[in-house]
């Protein structure tokens, strides 16, 4: 069976989950192709972690199904977990273990463990293997968790808000490690599913994304398509800016002679329309994924 025929890395079908009467995820559909880096973007409380936990069978969906490599997480828990690794937003280790003992302990659950990557990353992160995990900073804990997730070279890497609360250097190293060490061999078989609200630092890594709001998917798009479709257009006129509405404009701001709008598709038509009004200046630029996120949820 070729890769294109084999089941998707992740298939979320109509997922719904409630905490008591509070609905956390409602009828969510997501398909993640193998070898793809998929972003799940949302504000705090949008339902990202709940979705992650359903993928890992830590929560049982109220409705809908979750499949990983075509297997139901609930029924094939061991097989599924053998093929993935997970870095949570809050990392807990046994406090009495050293970094070395922690990695050995975690490696004991894995059939495969790349010790060369482990050695490289321990050096890169300047971690002391003899240090107790209780003495690690938040950044160092995340680094140890990342090493433990990358060394088994799993087919799927689940990252839940991995970089929130970390300093900029640690965040940078984290992403570089995901690109470098994790995608090192056979990038076509390395799938990444990352939930985050720190979108700009993952910008270059994301192939496709879903924006969630209050438990629902509000936008699913390829990253390149999003940057092509969402444009910020600015025009300045010699006289008062015209008071007309533009088709496909998400937001329009006017200030005297200036006009700024965000186009959701159709920016060529809007630019053409504006040009006919003889503006003094007219510019357009793509929105970054973070700006798309803000514009979508505003």
């Amino acid at each position: 069976m070729s890769v294109s025929e084999s089941p998707a890395a992740i298939e979320i079908n109509g997922l719904t989950y409630n905490y008591g009467r509070a609905e956390a995820v409602h009828d969510l559909h997501i398909t993640v192709r193998r070898g793809c880096c998929y972003g799940l973007f949302g504000r705090n409380g949008a339902g990202k972690t709940t979705t992650m936990k359903c993928l890992l069978n830590l929560l049982r969906p109220l409705n809908g199904s979750v499949r990983i490599f075509g297997l139901e997480s609930a029924r094939n828990e061991v097989e599924v977990k053998r093929r993935l690794a997970y870095v949570p937003d809050y990392v807990a280790f046994y406090p009495w273990m050293t970094v070395r003992e922690t990695l050995d302990y975690l490696a004991s659950f894995r059939a495969h463990w790349n010790s060369e990557i482990e050695k490289d990353l321990l050096e890169r992160f300047r971690l002391d293997p003899s240090q107790r995990t209780s003495a690690l900073s938040k950044g160092q804990r995340t680094q140890v968790a990342l090493i433990a997730a990358v060394c088994p070279e799993p087919e799927l890497l689940l990252l839940d808000e991995p970089t929130s609360g970390l300093d900029p250097i640690v965040r940078r190293e984290f992403i570089e490690t995901v690109i470098g060490a994790y995608q090192e061999s056979d990038p076509g078989k390395r799938t990444i599913f990352v939930s985050t609200h720190l979108i700009s630092e993952f910008e270059g890594l994301i192939d496709e994304f879903t924006i969630m709001d209050r438990g629902k998917a509000v936008l699913t798009l390829g990253a390149d398509q999003a940057r092509e479709r969402y444009q910020k257009i600015c025009a300045r006129f010699p006289q008062q800016a015209p008071e007309i509405e533009f088709k496909g404009a998400l937001q329009t701001r006017r200030n005297g002679r200036e006009l700024e709008l965000i186009a959701n598709g159709g920016s060529a038509e809007i630019l053409e329309q504006l040009r006919k009004m003889a503006p003094e200046s007219l510019t357009s630029e793509a929105l970054t994924l973070e700006e798309v996120f803000v514009a979508t949820l505003k």
């Binding site: 890594l205 192939d207 940057r227």
Partner: protein
């Protein structure tokens, strides 16, 4: 050669890599036979997906700009496009048409436009000569 990714350009990231390498080859900033950075360090450096760089290199290879030598990496090829002259002209005409349309909308008159084209050709030639001197 240092690449820059601009997410505000609206151009797909892999195409930005393709265009910048082609520009470096045209201006002589990169010479035939020179190796391209390998995929991993370049991806880490630009903090983009490795697949994006791989896609850019595949595109450059299919356009005949670079060649892959197994086990050694990617290298810039001497400038001889494998495409027939007709096809090359057609590709260029499409690009020129777009610029001509753009010039019309920006109210740049035909004479002024032609002068601009000559000016830009000179700039790139100059860069090329400067790069050649450096390499002597």
């Amino acid at each position: 050669m240092l690449l820059q990714i601009n997410y505000k350009s609206g151009k797909p990231v892999y195409l930005q890599v393709v265009d910048q390498i082609k520009a470096a080859a045209a201006s002589g900033a990169m010479q035939a036979g020179e190796p391209l950075p390998s995929i991993r360090p370049l991806a880490e450096d630009l903090r983009v997906n490795r697949n994006t760089i791989a896609k850019a290199y595949t595109e450059l290879e299919s356009q005949g700009v670079i060649e892959t030598i197994p086990g050694k990496g990617c290298f810039l090829r001497p400038n001889n496009s494998p495409l027939k002259k007709e096809v090359r002209r057609k590709l260029l005409i499409d690009e020129i048409d777009q610029v001509v349309v753009q010039a019309h909308h920006l109210q740049v008159a035909p004479d002024e436009f032609l002068n601009l084209v000559r000016e830009r050709l000179e700039v790139i030639e100059k860069k090329k000569r400067a790069n050649e001197q450096e390499n002597v």
